[in-house]
């Protein structure tokens, strides 16, 4: 039986595990990957202490920090259920079942899908959800980024260094995201911004050859060889059934990272904490670990 199981190893999960390890808690971290969304980010310029760092490098630093402590880690493992019976919380995965006195859910978010015809067929055949990973394969090509928030701007900025032309397909009337990033995008000569525009289908033969878009009631076809989907995220919270969530599936927490189930805490992007940022997720992770530590001490479990 563990004192604490941390689900997820993104900024929140890793920070929670470092804090818990320093409190000498008996600890297990279960995660599908390491670094979470941070690892998929392009350039990061707002994590204090680093004026500039890539997502890849920051995730590597997080991992290095975690590995400094002797923390048990089950990687490539997906949690399917978390359940509390009496005072024991069981965590079921695709590979086994573990028990703990407390749990921190830091499972983050994943990319939202477009839900248009052609999306499934052309996934990895020109359509991707990760500009950081697959962007370089589109060098010299015309591509489309779907979305208008920070992650879409980040993807578009990465692609300006690679592609021949970048179309941003934005459903709202103006781009969102940080002003600094918007300015960089607007300065780029190879970016076209299509506002009030909706994507309705992905076209192509074996690989993506174009997209269908709808603007001002008219449908037209745009020839592109790459489609980068950046329309937002959904929380990885389906595996906890009894926990209170908000309308979009984020786990509800209070200021101590407690959920409605005693002994189960949550941190980072999977929660309803306002603002989703790497630095916020990391801070929330540390809070959750300290709350779990306090809970175990007070309840004498």
């Amino acid at each position: 039986m563990f004192d604490l199981i941390v689900i997820g190893a993104g900024p929140a999960g890793i920070t929670a595990s470092v804090y818990a390890a320093r409190k000498k808690m008996q600890l297990l971290v279960i995660s599908r990957d390491i670094g979470g969304q941070a690892a998929w980010s392009g350039d990061i310029e707002n994590y204090t202490g680093y004026q500039f760092i890539t997502g890849t490098d920051l995730a590597a630093k997080f991992e290095e920090h975690m590995r400094k402590y002797d923390i048990a880690l089950e990687e490539n493992e997906t949690v399917t259920e978390v359940k509390k019976t009496n005072n024991i919380i069981s965590v079921k995965t695709d590979k086994g079942t573990y028990e703990a006195k407390s749990v921190i859910i830091a499972s983050g978010k994943r990319s939202k899908e477009l839900g248009v015809p052609g999306e499934k067929e052309f996934k990895n055949r020109g359509l991707t959800y990760c500009a950081t990973c697959d962007g370089p394969l589109f060098s010299g090509k015309v591509v489309a980024v779907i979305g208008g928030g920070n992650s879409a701007l980040d993807a578009a900025l990465q692609l300006t260094k690679i592609a021949k032309q970048v179309h941003i397909i934005n459903i709202t009337s103006a781009l969102g995201g940080d002003a600094v990033m918007r300015e960089k995008i607007e300065k780029s000569k190879i970016v076209t911004i299509l506002n009030n525009t909706q994507i309705t289908a992905i076209l192509g033969d074996k690989f993506v050859g174009g997209i269908k878009i709808k603007r001002e009631g008219r449908e037209e076809t745009l020839a592109v060889e790459g489609v980068f989907v950046e329309i937002g995220l959904i929380p990885n919270s389906e595996f906890v059934k009894d926990i209170e969530k908000n309308q979009i599936g984020e786990i509800k927490i209070n200021c101590r990272n407690e959920t409605n189930i005693t002994g189960i805490f949550a941190a980072g992007d999977v929660t309803d904490v306002p603002e989703k940022q790497i630095i916020i997720a990391a801070g929330e992770g540390s809070k959750a670990a300290l709350s779990a530590f306090r809970y175990l001490a007070q309840s004498r479990l």
Partner: protein, 78 residues
């Protein structure tokens, strides 16, 4: 005899980094091909795997897309 292991990757993809870490931990020597700078290799990878996602692993002609740890273990006999 050692198998011929090739990995098609980009420097920034997290799964490429993990797959290379995994191979190193298991003392597997491999040829790392950066498809972000080598366009001919990128085309070769797309031809071989019928898709454009990285990483792609080629173990003696057997093509594995993504970090499929179990499949890699089976093919490498780990």
């Amino acid at each position: 005899m050692d198998k011929n292991v090739k990995i098609y990757s980009t420097p920034t993809c997290p799964w490429c980094i993990r797959i290379k870490q995994f191979l190193k931990e298991n003392n597997i020597t491999f040829e790392d091909i950066d498809v972000s700078s080598n366009h001919a290799a990128a085309e070769e990878m797309i031809q071989k795997s019928g898709q454009m996602g990285v990483p792609v692993l080629d173990i003696d002609g057997e093509v594995i897309v993504g970090f499929d740890r179990e499949k890699i273990k089976t093919v490498l006999g780990l």
